[in-house]
């Protein structure tokens, strides 16, 4: 068994209200040094084997369902 990680992040040019809310809360906790926060999603897919065919499939899954290419970017990597 292997684990494939898909990270989905809002595109840089897209407003991220959730990240802004998190960022806005930090000074209240006493953390002043954080310049910006962006919030994304992480998916962990358990697969039989992280071979080429499976990874191609994961890319397809990431592009069609896990992310919306209009507003988000994704990366795929195999967990160590």
């Amino acid at each position: 068994m292997a684990r494939v990680i898909v990270d989905v992040m809002p595109k840089q040019e897209i407003l991220d209200p959730q990240g802004k809310a998190v960022h806005g809360a930090l000074p209240r906790l006493g953390f002043e040094g954080i310049v910006d926060v962006r919030q994304g999603k992480r998916f962990e897919l358990e697969v039989e084997a992280a071979d080429e065919t499976t990874l191609a499939e994961v890319h397809q899954i990431a592009e069609t369902l896990l992310s919306n290419p209009v507003i988000e970017d994704y990366t795929v990597r195999v967990a160590e």
Partner: protein, 224 residues
């Protein structure tokens, strides 16, 4: 004239949409998300609500519901399709309409009687309105910010495919005050505000929403 209204798990305004269809003189047909069947309807409404709990992204899972295979094929064939709020999100996720809807810029849910300008009266759902007519219908959403890249926004405006724009107040951070859009053919329309909540004087801010449904019924009669 049969107008189908799809119920997804988590749809809220399907019954109101059916009622609006009947008040406009059409026959409302309940459609189920899990069926590969449009039951012979002449048009389809994707109603508001929180389909599949808004999990993943609003409309992202509904877009792959069995009934959507039929809705997408019918829309590509020219059938009138109206997406209201969550329905608009589903249409964008289905790529039947360009752009996407993201969380409101002010991060809070908004519920208000919203003034809109009707900028395109040649769609299947807006022919009953006058060009540049101002209408007031309820708006209620948490993720209603319309976004698209500059080229897409320019194209929407250049081709007259912006159908509704917010007046005075931009309630959710939508780019260029866009409240609703259509496809090139004018049969698919999506908007965040809820016309089905403005069809009777007793409830809501008036009857400005009725025109959406009479437009569709009339355009379908015209074809028959």
């Amino acid at each position: 004239m049969k107008i189908g209204v799809v119920t997804f798990p988590g749809s809220l305004d399907d019954t109101d949409a059916q009622r609006a269809v009947r008040l406009a003189g059409g026959e409302a047909v309940a459609l189920w998300h899990g069926d590969h069947d449009l039951k012979g309807v002449d048009a389809v409404i994707l109603p508001g609500g929180f389909s599949y709990g808004d999990y993943l992204r609003c409309g992202a899972i509904a877009r792959f519901a069995p009934v959507m295979t039929e809705v997408i094929a019918a829309a590509n064939g020219g059938m009138p399709v109206l997406g209201i709020c969550n329905g608009f999100q589903i249409l964008c996720e289905s790529h039947l309409l360009p752009g996407a809807l993201i969380r409101n810029d002010h991060r809070t849910f908004v519920c208000r009687d919203q003034e809109l300008t009707v900028e395109n009266t040649s769609t299947a759902w807006t022919s009953a309105f006058e060009l540049d007519q101002q209408i007031t219908i309820p708006l209620k959403n948490g993720e209603g910010g319309f976004v698209a890249d500059e080229a897409t926004l320019d194209r929407l405006e250049g081709e007259g495919n912006v159908v509704f724009r917010y007046v005075d107040v931009n309630p959710n951070g939508s780019m260029r005050d866009i409240a609703g859009i259509t496809n090139e053919r004018g049969n698919v329309v999506g908007l965040m505000p809820h016309p089905e909540h403005a069809v009777e004087d007793l409830c809501g801010p008036g009857t400005d929403g009725l025109g959406f449904f009479t437009s569709a019924v009339q355009s379908l009669v015209g074809q028959a």
